[in-house]
Amino acid sequence: MKTQTPYPQGDAFHASLRTRYRVATIWQILFLSALLIAIVALTALLYKVVDGAFGYIAYEYKDDPAEFTPTPVNELTKEELLVILKEELSSGAYNKLNNEQPMQERSQADLLNLFLERLVRIDTKGTWSMTDSLLHKAEIQAEVKEKYSNAKLEFRSWLTPQFLVTPMSSKAEFAGVRTAILGSLWMVGLAILFALPIGTGAAIYLQEYAPKGWFTSLIQTNINNLAGVPSIVYGMLGLAVFVRTLEAFTSGSMFGVTDSNGRTVLSAGLTMGTLVLPLIIINAQEAIKAVPDSLRQAAYGVGATRWQTVWHHVLPNALPGILTGSILAISRALGESAPLIVVGASTFISIDPDGPFSKFTALPIQIYQWTTLAQSEFHAIAAGAIIVLLILLLTLNASAILLRNRYQRKY
């Protein structure tokens, strides 16, 4: 027989109790510190992004602006700029720009950018993060003065209204996310157009129609599994099915579009739709499950058919939940990049997507592209694009939460 150690009595008991409490406090602190680490990581991430999007830039003009005009750069008017551009740009380049958007209709800021980008040509010598710029101002100024005597030093916000409406450019100083935002919107729009009706239909089938049995539980298990398939596998599926097998449809050649291959925003939208489909189904099922049975029985009681019951009573009550689920699916689709790389998002494109058969790029793709380039000014615009993406996602998720709280009914 095992001899048991006697339970401590008297002072020994109190001493051991104190030890136990001390150990308990230490562990509690450890548990809490795990959460603190998570908070620190999140803060560091957000700080790094904001830190990168603002700061000093040192640049030189390759050609002196004085060669083009006696007026100082920041006092140039729209009319003066129009004249300079017309005279100095080669006629081919001018006509190309004019075709993209007539010069007369462009804003002064836009024309000034063209002037700086095409004629004066900025040569960036260095960029600094916000923290460095604020804390080591004097040192940066001294360094720039010493190394590049002609360079101008400016505190610049890389995230400007201009940044949102300018298309891609090979010079970071003039690049924007207009093409990427439009591409993302097209892609997500097509994805939801595809996935929302089918996902809701599947959820209705599974909750309201499907007989209990092995087949239904197979579908259910399958949906849960699809939700866990790595996104890049969906990309490969999209590449094989939408880009390649269905090329006639996704490139638009069966509708008479001739200038594209299967790597279109339609292929991307369908791929992304397939990716978010399980997510939409699972959320819609939850929403439909939450509609109380008494509503269905009341409908049947007055003689409604099954579809009438679903259409007039179940769906309207489940709608806020279904919409919340779709918003979450949209934000998932907006942030995904791996499948888009595989189905062939263009990394350099400056023409707005104008239909389902356009080539496209998307916000996360631009962020990926700019992050992997070596020059620091591209990291700065990557940070700007990340802020745009995060604000978009935050708005979407906040509206999902609001929708949920507003319409959440307690039966």
């Binding site: 998570a38 908070i39 398939v229 996360p364 992050t371």
Partner: protein, 302 residues
């Protein structure tokens, strides 16, 4: 006077048509799975059908250059294993500790503040984590390891991946912990246990299978993660388990190669599908195990 009603079920064409449409929507998910297996399998078969490619070379080799006849998948698997192991090494203890705190210690008010923070962490796009890994974590690691660490390295990618997976592990573990009936905790308190003793010796063991499910799903997520490794862990297959070196994972390789211009039917193209098929099968098995554990666990307490 009497009126007769026909109480037989009427055939309603509209109703049946709608039901068929809904059924079609329902089985589309099955079609998707079949399409994944079929399409990946078809191209992978073309790859393995190549007389030069043998299973022995594929599963035995440590060089991956399909263009010149090296088909050793270990060159990519080693990086996937290394980054995933680092990620789990970070995410499991932190996620579990966070779950215990949220489920056993936190007041409702504290939970209301702390949980959304984890949810925000879970909602950040992975490419943003990639930016963070390359431009924030790597420079910090560089200041620790100096020249021993390469600019692109698996350590930085793995660490950030761990932060990314943390919310998943903590929320699944928390579900498992809070599913443990209150009576078990009360029994522990009645025996004179402190809160810590009850949490660690009673509640945690009871929730172990749910935590196991979280761990397995976390591994599956780490293996399938693409953008963080594509940005931060390096381009180019490298058979190495040294976290300070650059190496390309299976997912990172697919992303890099398919991003370029690729001609269909080339060995590069079909080899990507062989990798993707392997990725799909591995994650599928992991997900199924995880779901099976969760299902069994749920039955036990309900």
């Amino acid at each position: 006077m009497s009126q007769s009603f026909d109480l037989k079920k009427k055939t309603r064409i509209g109703e049946s048509a709608i039901q068929s449409l809904l059924f079609l929507a329902g089985i589309l998910s099955i079609v998707t799975t079949v399409a994944i297996v079929y399409e990946l399998g078809k191209e992978a078969m073309l790859f393995f059908g190549n007389p030069d490619v043998t299973f022995a070379k594929f599963f035995g080799g440590t060089q991956w250059q399909p263009g010149i006849g090296n088909y050793g998948i270990w060159a990519l698997v080693s990086a996937t294993l290394t980054t995933s192991a680092i990620a789990i090494f970070i995410a499991l203890p932190l996620g579990l500790a966070a779950a215990v705190y949220l489920s056993e210690y936190a007041s409702p008010k504290a939970r209301g503040i702390l949980k959304p923070i984890l949810e925000i962490l879970a909602g950040i796009p992975t490419v943003v984590y990639g930016y963070f890994a390359l431009l924030f974590v790597t420079p910090i690691l560089k200041s620790f390891f100096g020249d021993h660490i390469q600019v692109y390295n698996m350590l930085s990618a793995g660490l950030v991946m761990g932060i990314m997976i943390l919310p998943l592990i903590s929320s699944m573990s928390e579900d498992a912990l809070s599913a443990v009936p209150r009576s078990l905790r009360e029994a522990a308190y009645a025996m004179g246990a402190t809160k810590l003793e009850s949490s660690l010796q009673v509640v945690l063991p009871a929730a172990l299978s749910g935590i196991g499910a979280a761990l397995i799903l976390g591994i599956s997520r780490a293996v399938g993660e693409t953008m963080i490794v594509a940005v931060a862990s390096g381009a180019g297959p490298n058979f190495s388990f040294n976290p300070l070196e650059a190496a390309e994972t299976m997912t990172g390789h697919i992303a890099r190669i398919s991003g370029g211009d690729l001609s269909y039917n080339s060995i590069d193209y079909t080899s990507l599908f062989a990798i993707a098929l392997m990725l799909f099968l591995v994650t599928l098995v992991l997900n199924l195990i995880s779901q099976w554990i969760v299902g069994r666990f749920r039955e036990r307490y309900e």
